[in-house]
């Protein structure tokens, strides 16, 4: 209402109406969520019997994941194998139908879309796969691979312009445009990943989901591909969801980082909040286990070595899923599922979303188990009452 008066003089400026008409997609200002994920669930049924299939259980690959992907940002997702990070990517792309929850792209619910609506959304969310050896069809030329998205979305590039569009894309990702008639086997791993990226860019998407894009590449080539992804992000104003298990690469490329364990996000925050002020025990253990490429740190490292393996996602522990491997676990962790919220008893950079009843920063040099005993004073209820 008050804004009306303020915008009235602005309406006289002619430029303001022009982009309104030409924009096919509605603009989302930087800092607004482009992808909103709420309580996303993906269960794979476990069945018994051949003719009369009876469901006997479910692999809870993704079990209640919520986050926002902001316009122009890179959200890193880390976690060990089997934690559901790749399934999450597939559900976001609607390659696998979600069991429950919602995914909204610019405010539009995509998990219930079908037909032309789904097609339009998929154009704007593209994916770069992990293995450049299996994700490119060996019988197609590079030109056909990168140009294939245009067959499905002919409106992006008219038929006559496609060859030129593909050559431009090859140029953008740092490959020689004359390679358009070559086959994937004539390229090295790093070059193939560039082809995969070019294909992802073909439809001028707004969001690219990168599922372990460099883990199959040689160390000396990984940095090249990371640099390319960062350069493209600036050039095309892309939002990335960057799924990887290499924590140092994720930190380098991400604005925010989410940590997954057994189908749930256990902690999410800015890269500094996660890497320097982690409050969830799993994040702390994960970070401490990463081998540091510095031999002088060998003696001074304060490593948390977790016992045991990740439990089966078909039968996850009750309450907090990490409790079976956690040194802080109490009765409460068994009874009550911790929510992904900012712990009220923490301040500063430590106050970011963390799904732990006893979230606390790690004090280096102090026995981790000791701190778990101080939980009575640090519990959320107790923490709130004095305030």
């Amino acid at each position: 209402m008050t804004a009306d008066g303020a915008s009235a003089p602005g309406a006289a400026v002619p430029e303001e109406t022009v982009p309104e008409e030409t924009a096919f997609v509605q603009e989302v200002p930087r800092g607004e969520p482009i992808l909103e994920v709420r309580d996303l669930v993906k269960h794979f049924p476990l069945t018994q019997g051949i003719l009369f299939k009876k469901q006997v259980g479910a692999v809870k690959a993704v079990d209640g994941v919520s986050f926002d992907l902001m316009q122009g940002e890179t959200l890193g997702i880390v976690g060990e194998s089997g934690c559901g990070k790749s399934t999450l990517a597939k559900v976001l792309m609607n390659l696998e139908p979600a069991t429950g929850g919602s995914v909204r792209y610019k405010g539009e619910e995509i998990s219930r879309l079908s037909g032309s609506g789904l097609k339009a959304v998929r154009r704007n969310i593209q994916m770069v796969f992990q293995d450049p050896y299996t994700s490119l069809n060996p019988r197609m030329t590079v030109g056909d691979i990168i140009g294939e998205p245009y067959e499905i979305h002919p409106e992006v590039a008219p038929k006559g312009d496609r060859r030129k569009a593909v050559q431009d894309l090859l140029d953008v990702v740092g490959l020689n445009p004359e390679y358009i008639n070559r086959y994937p086997h004539q390229f090295s791993g790093g070059q193939r990943q560039r082809i995969g990226i070019a294909r992802g860019l073909a439809l001028k998407p707004e969001v690219i989901i990168c599922d372990e894009p460099v883990s199959a590449l040689d160390v000396s080539v990984q940095a090249q591909v990371i640099n390319l992804l960062e350069q493209l992000q600036g050039e095309f104003n892309l939002s990335y969801m960057f799924i990887a298990h290499d924590l140092s690469i994720v930190r380098h490329i991400s604005d925010r980082v989410g940590v997954m364990y057994l189908g749930r996000l256990v902690e999410i925050g800015s890269d500094a909040e996660i890497y320097d002020h982690a409050t969830h025990p799993y994040t702390q253990a994960l970070l401490s286990a990463v081998p540091v490429p510095d031999p002088t740190a060998r003696e001074s490292r304060d490593r948390i070595v977790l016992t045991g393996d990740v439990p089966s996602p078909a039968n996850p522990p009750s309450g907090c899923r990490f409790r079976t491997r956690c040194w802080k676990a109490q009765q409460r962790c068994e009874d009550e599922v911790p929510l992904l919220v900012s712990p009220s008893w923490l301040g500063g950079a430590a106050r970011h979303d963390s799904a732990c009843h006893f979230a606390a920063e790690r004090e280096v040099g102090q026995g981790a188990a000791e701190r778990g005993n101080g939980q009575g004073a640090a519990g959320p209820e107790d923490g709130q009452s004095p305030d």
């Binding site: 990371i226 380098h252 286990a289 031999p295």
Partner: protein, 349 residues
């Protein structure tokens, strides 16, 4: 049998300071349809008891082929060892008879593979596979072998070993399978273990458990360990000395601390620089330009020259030998070697 006795002499028989294993100027080629791929071109290294040598390199650098030649499990043909010697306790493994070689393999030198699921036999129980070592090499009964297997599984800390000894490989998790691989390698208490990317297929939290176990067992038995990997982080954690391989050659060797602090070869420097660091956030990573070489067409001169920022005409024509490097004032740097014409500039510049 005599050969076995000679080689198999007690652990103490080795004079102190003598390397357990010496590889001297090893050359390995593969004959392929497209020509001869020169996988290993004159590699020399040595490992002593209780020492950890890390062989660092990318795929195709020849690090695994060298290990396979040491172990005697190279596919021949298409592979061929064209020259060189592999001395284990002073005996050349390459000129040894097949039976003597077999006695060394497993008993004296054991190997841990990257992918435990494909290295284990899926249709035999792990207890059987572990016990097989004792039945073949020591001729014990099935019952005894099974007891030994349980003992081994206990030692690598597999929970409920007694109940799980009859389980098959697919019933174990990745970390547990790798423990079984380690148990199998340790079964006959070898003097030397070759671990080819032992933790690459594992998650970081499990990787830490497995590396700790390996290091602990190594010091317990005073074994030599050759760790083959591409992971600069793992190397920094466990190695005593490092050999960096590129296109079938060692381009730099050094004690671990010195290599990370001051690399003497542009390739090593490039690898270290390409690790994302905190202060580089938002900037480009220092990538090594170009691609690893095709082994059918290794570049003339220094194999790294097309990717090197320092490359001069000399690098394109003259193969740099692996020479000892010295400090700024000409002082000796123990154990440091570099195969770069311009190591002085790389190290001190």
């Amino acid at each position: 049998m005599d050969a076995v006795e000679v080689i198999g002499g007690g652990r103490e028989s080795l004079a102190p300071g003598t390397p357990l294993l010496e590889v001297e100027d090893l050359h390995v080629e593969f004959h392929t349809r497209d020509g001869v791929a020169k996988a290993v071109n004159g590699v020399s290294y040595a490992v002593s008891a209780g020492e950890t040598l890390a062989v660092l390199g990318e795929s195709g650098s020849g690090k695994s082929v060298t290990a396979q030649a040491v172990m005697g499990i190279l596919d021949m043909p298409p592979g061929r060892i064209t020259s060189g010697r592999i001395l284990f306790r002073g005996e050349d493994l390459l000129t040894m008879g097949a039976n003597a070689r077999r006695a060394v393999r497993g008993q004296k030198i054991a190997m841990i593979f990257q992918d435990a699921l494909s290295a284990l036999n899926p249709v035999l129980s792990v207890g059987y596979q572990l016990g097989e070592m004792f039945r073949t090499h020591h001729g014990v009964s099935r019952k005894e072998a099974r007891e030994k297997a349980v003992e081994l599984m206990d030692r690598v800390r597999i929970p409920a070993a007694k109940q799980r000894v009859g389980d098959f490989p697919h019933q174990f998790s990745g970390g547990m399978r790798q423990r079984i691989m380690i148990a199998m390698a340790l079964a006959l208490e070898p003097d030397l273990i070759i671990a080819d990317e032992p933790t690459t297929a594992l998650d970081v939290t499990v990787q830490a458990q497995v590396m700790d176990l390996l290091a602990e067992l190594q010091s317990e038995f005073n074994m030599g360990l050759i760790l083959i990997t591409h992971d600069l982080g793992v190397v920094a954690d466990v190695a005593d000395k490092i050999a960096v391989m590129y296109a079938g050659r060692i381009v730099e060797s050094a004690p671990v601390h010195e290599l990370y602090a001051r690399p003497a070869h542009p390739y090593t420097r490039g690898l270290l620089d390409s690790i994302p660091r905190l202060d580089q956030k938002g900037q480009n990573l220092h990538a090594i330009k170009g691609l690893p070489p095709n082994l059918l067409r290794i570049p003339e001169g220094c194999a790294f020259n097309p990717r090197c920022d320092r490359a001069q005409d000399r690098c394109r024509s003259e193969l740099p030998p692996l020479v000892p490097v010295t400090g700024e004032h000409g002082e000796e740097l123990v154990g440091r070697r570099s195969a770069c014409h311009y190591w002085r500039e790389t190290l001190h510049g």
